[in-house]
């Protein structure tokens, strides 16, 4: 025998774990320590059935938790205190004696804890926690209803199996219905009660500032920043444009307002449409694929240098569509003051100035100067590195002539500075280069460590050309290009695809998608109506009915032995022929046959009884004879013996 309360206890503890586990990283130290301790102590106390926390002390502690964290709830941080309260209340409840009401409170708190985790994290792992939570809470509630009737109720293993089997119907069907309700539940564009929502918080991330030499080393973080739904594109074209830095002060590049009157047109190129799913907030600049034509889906301001900036806060639930021209050219179509793109700081070293001066003197047009500069970079045998970087007041000089190593910011800012010194207007473009294509999901995964800076130079004919000086490093192939080649193994790629589909199917599902879904289903239904002829529909229904009926028939036959089927048929025929007032379920076959006074029935009972009492199966001859007798019973059905009522 297994006590129901023991199983209920298991469900309680697992559902508490499932509720608090997603919250755990966001809890403060007291809750982090107390919750696991209470979980363990509660389980031990339940097992020993004594020394639980008394109700008055539990109440006082609960009030203290409310007092401690309740006052910290504010509009700017409403969630963190609440999750701490939930975890601590759960801890207190776990230490008290478990009664029907307490069990229910624990389940409710565990569900609320899981619910509150959605305000802190939108990871796909939530679905796993949710599924398991639904299983344990629903089965636990079923067990609770048994415990509420009799706390000491115990069931044999067989009964328990039947109970758990039936109880599992609840989570199984609930989870299927969950998917249906998720699609159809009403959604709004605007919150019902806005002040309840937490204020958006600023996050560290992409900066519109390039300052080589400010740090001695950089650490690449493999954190996903964007997923971009796209066809596969040549790796050399994978320049993801974020921001253009046109203002140079000292050795720091920042973004200034593009010169007044600058107008540019995108010419040529292969059009491509991409959908961007930002993974974290990007400070207002929206990533596009170089060179973008337009952007839709998010209200954003487009600058002449093809930078898109939005005022709205972007988070993981947003997405936007970009039309780009691969291999296109950006050409200025107006006269404007190019001084901004030629400004250089006064602190440039003599060696750097000398290089630029030589180029200015010897080379003619801008394109030739660019070629000369590329040759100069190659000749310097610069290497791409992220450690032991130049970190002086004049990082460009140190990079080109001393250390000769640096990462993209050094290459790009040195190249752009030399171009400007040589009289070629130039600017930096910040964004990402490369990315991993996930063929399973049909998207590019762009991670933080692929952040990149390159140069755009303005030729005399008004064309902006893209130059990636990092490619001029002696180890460019190894450090830059293959570094950004696919590195995820198959398992991680599948995991990432799951995350991607999670974001697409769940996180980004909104009113627009809901309407789109209903419209699509509506039009599909319409098409179905027009295409499907009545005859085909009938044939389909008949076939489906026959298959289902056949399956039921086979299942029914399979479940009953041939003996049981024969007896069942016999009893049906007897009922039809003799119409006895009521056959008591315990009546024996021979007793019944004796009462009916029918030789066929008596013979049937005798043959059947012979096998039954010897505990053996019916032989083939016996079955044949029994079937004959049944046939006779059936054919003689109308010959009902004359009774007193006839």
């Amino acid at each position: 025998m297994v006590r129901i309360e023991t199983l209920l206890g298991i469900c309680i503890y697992i559902s508490c774990l499932l509720g608090v586990a997603p919250l755990y990283p966001y809890l403060e130290l007291p809750a982090r320590l107390l919750f696991p301790a209470a979980l363990l102590t509660g389980a031990i106390l339940d097992r020993r059935r004594d020394r639980h926390l008394s109700p008055p002390i539990a109440t006082v502690l609960s009030l203290a938790v409310f007092a401690l964290y309740g006052f910290r709830i504010s509009l700017s941080s409403p969630v963190e205190p609440v999750v701490n309260i939930l975890a601590l209340l759960l801890a207190i409840r776990l230490l008290t004696e478990k009664t029907g009401r307490n069990y229910l409170q624990i389940f409710v708190l565990a569900v609320f804890a899981l619910a509150s985790s959605t305000l802190l994290s939108i990871s796909a792992s939530f679905f796993v926690f949710l599924t398991l939570q639904v299983v344990f809470v629903t089965v636990g509630l079923v067990l609770l209803s048994f415990v509420s009737v009799d706390q000491s109720l115990a069931l044999p293993r067989r009964g328990l199996k039947a109970l758990l089997g039936t109880a599992m119907i609840l989570p199984a069907v609930s989870l299927v219905l969950m998917l249906v309700f998720f699609v159809v539940l009403p959604r709004t564009r605007h919150p019902l009660w806005n002040f309840l929502n937490p204020a958006p918080t600023a996050r560290a991330g992409f900066t519109d500032r390039v300052a080589p030499g400010s740090v001695a080393g950089v650490v690449a973080v493999k954190q996903t920043v964007y997923r971009v739904e796209s066809p596969e594109i040549d790796r050399n074209e994978l320049y993801w444009r974020g921001v253009v830095l046109n203002d140079l002060e000292g050795s720091t590049w920042t973004r200034g307002h593009p010169p007044d009157g600058e107008r540019a047109r995108l010419l040529g190129g292969r059009p491509v449409r991409l959908t961007f799913y930002p993974k974290s907030r990007r400070g207002g600049y929206l990533l596009t694929l170089d060179i973008p034509r337009d952007l839709e889906g998010i209200r954003a301001r487009q600058s002449e240098d093809r930078v898109f900036k939005t005022r709205s806060q972007i988070d993981s639930r947003d997405s936007y569509v970009v039309s780009s021209a691969l291999g296109g050219t950006l050409r200025t179509v107006s006269d404007f003051n190019r001084e901004l793109y030629l400004e250089v700081p006064g602190t440039v070293s003599q060696r750097v100035r000398a290089v630029a001066e030589k180029m200015r003197r010897e080379a003619g047009p801008a394109a030739e100067k660019i070629d000369r500069l590329e040759a100069f970079f190659l000749a310097r045998k610069l290497t791409y590195a992220t450690t032991d970087l130049p970190a002086s007041d004049d990082p460009v000089d140190e990079f080109l002539f001393e250390k000769k190593k640096g990462y993209c910011e050094f290459f790009a800012s040195s190249f752009a500075l030399l171009l400007r010194l040589a009289g070629v207007p130039a600017r930096l473009v910040g964004g990402y280069y490369g990315g991993e294509y996930n063929a399973l999901g049909g998207y590019y995964l762009i991670s933080e460590d692929t952040a990149h800076v390159w140069v755009e130079a303005l030729l005399e004919d008004g064309r902006w050309v893209r130059i990636d000086p990092s490619r001029l490093a002696s180890n460019a192939d190894a450090a830059l290009i293959s570094e950004r080649a696919p590195r995820l193994n198959a398992a991680r790629r599948i995991l990432d695809a799951v995350n991607y589909f999670w974001d697409r199917a769940v996180i980004n599902y909104d009113l627009g998608r809901q309407m789109e879904f209903f419209r699509a289903r509506g039009s599909e239904l319409g098409r179905l109506k027009t295409r499907l002829s009545l005859r085909r529909a009938l044939a389909f229904l008949l076939l489906a009915g026959a298959v289902i009926g056949g399956l039921f028939f086979l299942a029914g036959r399979h479940r009953r032995s041939s003996e049981a089927r024969l007896v069942g048929r016999f009893l049906r025929l007897v009922r039809k022929k003799y119409r006895p007032p009521a056959l008591p379920p315990e009546i024996g076959l021979e007793e019944l046959a004796g009462e009916l006074d029918d030789p066929d029935c008596r013979e049937f009972a005798r043959i059947y009884g012979r096998a039954l009492y010897r505990d053996r199966r019916l032989s083939e001859e016996e079955i044949k004879r029994l079937k004959e007798l049944l046939g006779r019973l059936k054919t003689n059905r109308q010959e009902r013996p004359a009774g007193p009522g006839d």
């Binding site: 569900v111 619910a115 079923v142 209803s145 009737v149 109720l153 219905l177 998720f182 539940l185 009403p186």
Partner: protein, 276 residues
């Protein structure tokens, strides 16, 4: 809770909350269907004991059958005559047997039209109930009450006591049989009852005595009911002593005989006397 989380989901547009609310709504829907199905396709049969006396508590046997093909039935509470019993589990196509103490007041025919089945399964938030028609009928016998002169102890061996094949209440254990409702509780063989899942009683041997014919009209008592109760007392005492008993009711006479069937026939006649 669902409403609160639902409001939170709509307000924040948080799809994870939507998922949670959807799961809760799904759970509510399926628990409603499961709860309804739990008390569907149940068949109840009530088996009264052979002897039911006016105002005396006895046990009625309930046979609750689950006629569902696949699903078991859980936590069904059967309420009958203000008494209730809860059956934790009945497997598909199986039956549960339960006993319920009950008392019927007033001799004669009694009927129980319906029983009430309630269940809190699957979750203890709602109780679902349904009424199950029964149409059970039983004849209640007059409660045996001693009258004037019955307190005199019966002399041992009066009328020539001799061993009898009939069962009695004072002799040696002769056999074990099923409880029929009229046996004193002290005769219930609890150990065997627990083993067989139905009540078993010890039957003791008896000795035979001279036959007697009871005429309620001639028994002392202030009214017919009292005389009938007195007659029931005398009859049951005589049967217990193994004495053949007959009955005169007006002009109808039931010849003296011994045995269980005869006893019930007599008590039945006393129960229905003057009511048909």
């Amino acid at each position: 809770m669902t409403l609160l989380l639902g409001f939170g989901a709509v307000n924040t547009g948080n799809n994870l909350l939507y998922l949670l609310v959807s799961a809760l709504l799904g759970f509510m829907a399926v628990s409603g269907v499961l709860g309804k199905g739990n008390i569907d396709k149940l068949h109840l049969r009530v088996e009264f004991p052979d002897e039911v006396f006016d105002g005396i508590e006895t046990l009625v046997r309930l046979r609750l059958e689950n006629r569902k093909r696949w699903l078991p039935t859980f936590l069904v509470t059967v309420t009958l005559l203000d008494q209730s019993v809860t059956v934790p589990i009945i497997g598909p196509r199986q039956a549960a047997l339960e006993s319920l103490p009950f008392t019927l007041d007033g001799r004669g025919r009694h009927g129980i039209d319906a029983a009430r089945l309630c269940s809190i399964f699957p979750i203890n938030f709602f109780v679902r109930c349904r009424s199950l028609p029964l149409g059970a009928k039983v004849v209640v016998f007059p409660a045996p009450r001693p009258g004037y002169g019955d307190s005199r102890p019966e002399p041992e061996g009066e009328g020539g006591g001799r061993p009898s094949p009939l069962k009695g209440y004072e002799g040696e254990l002769s056999r074990i049989s099923d409880y029929r409702g009229g046996e004193p509780l002290k005769l219930i063989h609890w150990k065997l009852s627990a083993r067989h899942d139905r009540l078993k009683v010890k039957e003791l041997s008896a000795t035979t005595r001279e036959p007697v014919i009871i005429d309620p009209e001639r028994l002392p008592g202030k009214d017919l009911e009292e005389r009938l109760r007195h007659a029931a007392f005398v009859a049951t005492r005589c049967f217990r002593q193994g004495r053949p008993v007959g009955l005169r009711l007006g002009r109808a006479v039931i010849a003296p005989a011994a045995g269980r069937q005869h006893k019930i026939k007599l008590l039945n006649a006393l129960g229905l006397y003057g009511q048909d």
